[in-house]
């Protein structure tokens, strides 16, 4: 394959991955708000979150593979798994490796949630709040197109979408429908006197 074609593909796939992953984060955050309507049940939000996440992983893999295979970058496969091990833009590329591995952990645990239990799954899933900004920074630092208008526009929209969804979550946190009953139950079964 033509070297530059690989390079364009890496850049294109990087941009697409950023967009997809931003959509995944937005959907994930919005699912905590438990929005639903007659035409939009809750499983639609979570289902899209899951499907787009898996799609994103595919495009992220394309982004990584084309970057490593591209002879110009002199990246070995090691750089894809060991952060800060490349000569090429060591720090910013390393951030990408970290974001990728966090995403792998999140994806893997989500696929085997039944085996590891809800608590472990949830703990790892919180790392998505680390993975996404690290990915954005990776893009800023390594990205060829960082200062191009089109890329800035994409960045702006993605960041605004994620920030907006987080703000919505903070503002519109729906009360846990079980909270009151759970508290009542726990009060009933709590140790009163230490023997």
């Amino acid at each position: 394959m033509n070297n530059t074609a690989l390079w364009y593909t890496t850049r294109g796939a990087g941009a697409v991955s950023l967009v997809l992953l931003s959509a995944v984060v937005v959907l994930g955050v919005l699912s905590t708000l438990r929005y639903e309507s007659p035409t939009w049940p809750r499983f639609l939000t979570t289902g899209l979150h899951r499907n787009i996440a898996l799609t994103a992983v595919v495009f992220l893999a394309l982004h990584i593979v084309t970057a490593v295979v591209d002879p110009f970058t002199h990246l070995g496969w090691l750089a894809a798994v060991v952060p800060f091990s490349s000569y090429y833009r060591t720090f910013w590329l390393g951030l990408g490796t970290i974001a990728f591995e966090l995403l792998l952990a999140i994806t893997a645990t989500s696929l085997v949630r039944g085996l590891i239990g809800h608590a472990a799954w949830r703990a790892i899933h919180w790392l998505s709040y680390a993975s996404w900004p690290i990915a954005v920074l990776h893009g800023f630092g390594t990205g060829t197109d960082t200062l191009s208008t089109w890329m800035l526009a994409i960045d702006g929209i993605c960041i605004a979408a994620v920030a907006g969804s987080v703000a919505a979550r903070v503002m519109f946190r729906s009360p846990d429908p079980l909270a009151a009953d759970r508290a009542r139950f726990r009060e009933r079964v709590s140790r009163k006197v230490v023997k």
């Binding site: 139950f185 009933r188 079964v189 709590s190 023997k195």
Partner: protein
């Protein structure tokens, strides 16, 4: 004729057996070691808390993970309203239970032994407390008495562990199971008090003895709580492998005409009277056949009682006792209970009966613990056994309907 083992010795009117009498009758506590676990395997003893899981296998699972710091919890919470066997056993034979708990602690390598007793079971708790004070200082120092909250799920093994760890008896999602990580993260054996009492006798008399107590292929004796339309309701000890007919005869016979039998308690299920009579009560056999003896409740419903009303009340209790940790359990059982109550009151809406079938499928397996599954299984048994009554009641609209 059943040869008594747990209730051999002084009659129930004599109250709790003292340590002196216990030692005189049975001798000192034997060694608890790995050989005991092998003996338990051969004896065929299965757990009496409801799951009928082989006791030897459970002990070995803890022992193999223990590094001398495991924990034993003797589970005497008995939150099932229809069951009284555990509290009766603890009130009359506290030293058997304590022996069993200490034997388990020695065999699995535990450094802590906890006696988790329902705080509402006053006679049992005071008998155990007094019994502990009769023991040697060393044994007294090793054991701790805990009051289990009087809720249905407090006896669930993760709830017991959670209570010790955090003071709240709410069930937790598994993994990990207590035998892997329980109290303080250590391997924990949670064992029903009746199972421990049997183990205390097997340690003295051997596995062949225990096997000989049962009928045919069944092993040992079992404690049952017989209630409902019988002349002499109460706790009885019978040979494993007895039939329900024999059990009901021991309880003074059915008063009136039996319609159905509730086997296993709220977590069990209904059986038609004509099919129940010949049913063999062997916990291992029932488990192998996909059924369950549960916690040994045998409750008789006669022709004068309304099966829908009884079933609705039981389901309501189960719904109220949900820990409200999982949406499908809390809201699902609440909806099922409301619909069943409406049907029982002959005020059903058109969709109520089909919805019972539908919602049942949506609730099963969706909780962190097995509470919703047990409730749903109970409801399904009611829908099966009392099908004509449900259909008729669902169609009836009460006297005020046009």
């Amino acid at each position: 004729m059943t040869e008594l083992s747990l209730f051999a010795g002084p009659p129930s009117s004599a109250g709790p057996e003292s340590f002196r009498d216990h030692l005189k009758r049975l001798g000192p506590r034997p060694r608890g070691d790995r050989a005991l676990i092998d003996t338990l395997d051969r004896s065929g003893l299965v757990g009496r808390g409801g799951a009928s899981f082989p006791v030897g296998v459970k002990w070995r699972a803890v022992q193999s993970r223990s590094r001398g710091a495991a924990v034993v919890i003797a589970n005497g919470a008995e939150g099932e309203p229809l069951s009284r066997k555990d509290r009766t056993l603890m009130a009359l034979r506290p030293h058997l239970v304590i022996d069993g708990a200490l034997l388990a602690a020695d065999a699995v390598g535990a450094s802590r032994t906890l006696l988790y007793i329902g705080e509402a079971h006053g006679a049992a708790a005071s008998a155990i407390a007094r019994a502990l004070s009769e023991r040697s200082p060393a044994e007294l120092a090793r054991t701790t008495l805990l009051g289990a909250p009087p809720s249905y799920v407090a006896g669930e093994e993760t709830a017991a562990v959670n209570f010790v760890n955090s003071g709240v008896a709410a069930p937790l999602a598994i993994p990990p199971r207590p035998f892997e990580r329980g109290v303080d993260g250590r391997p924990t054996l949670v064992q029903n008090v009746e199972s421990l009492a049997h183990a205390a006798l097997i340690a003295r008399h051997g596995d062949a003895w225990f096997q000989s107590l049962g009928r045919h292929h069944a092993a040992g004796t079992i404690l049952l709580t017989v209630s409902g339309a019988v002349a002499k309701p109460g706790v009885i000890e019978v040979a494993s492998g007895c039939s329900v007919d024999e059990v009901l005869a021991l309880a003074g016979g059915v008063s009136g005409k039996a319609r159905a039998v509730l086997l296993g308690g709220y977590f069990g299920g209904w059986i038609r009277a004509d099919q129940a009579g010949s049913m063999v009560l062997d916990p291992s056999g029932l488990r192998a056949a996909g059924g369950s003896l549960g916690c040994g409740v045998v409750s008789v419903l006669d022709e004068t009682a309304d099966p829908l009303d009884v079933s609705a009340r039981i389901l309501q209790h189960l719904a109220n006792e949900s820990a409200a940790q999982c949406g499908p359990c809390f809201f699902g059982l609440r909806s099922l209970s409301a619909a069943t109550t409406r049907i029982a009151a002959r005020q059903a809406d058109n969709g109520d009966l089909p919805q019972l079938h539908r919602w049942t499928a949506m609730v099963k397996g969706r909780g962190a613990c097995r509470h919703p599954d047990g409730a749903v299984a109970f409801l399904q048994s009611a829908l099966n056994v009392f099908e004509p009554e449900f259909v008729a009641a669902a169609g009836a609209r009460g006297r005020r309907a046009s």
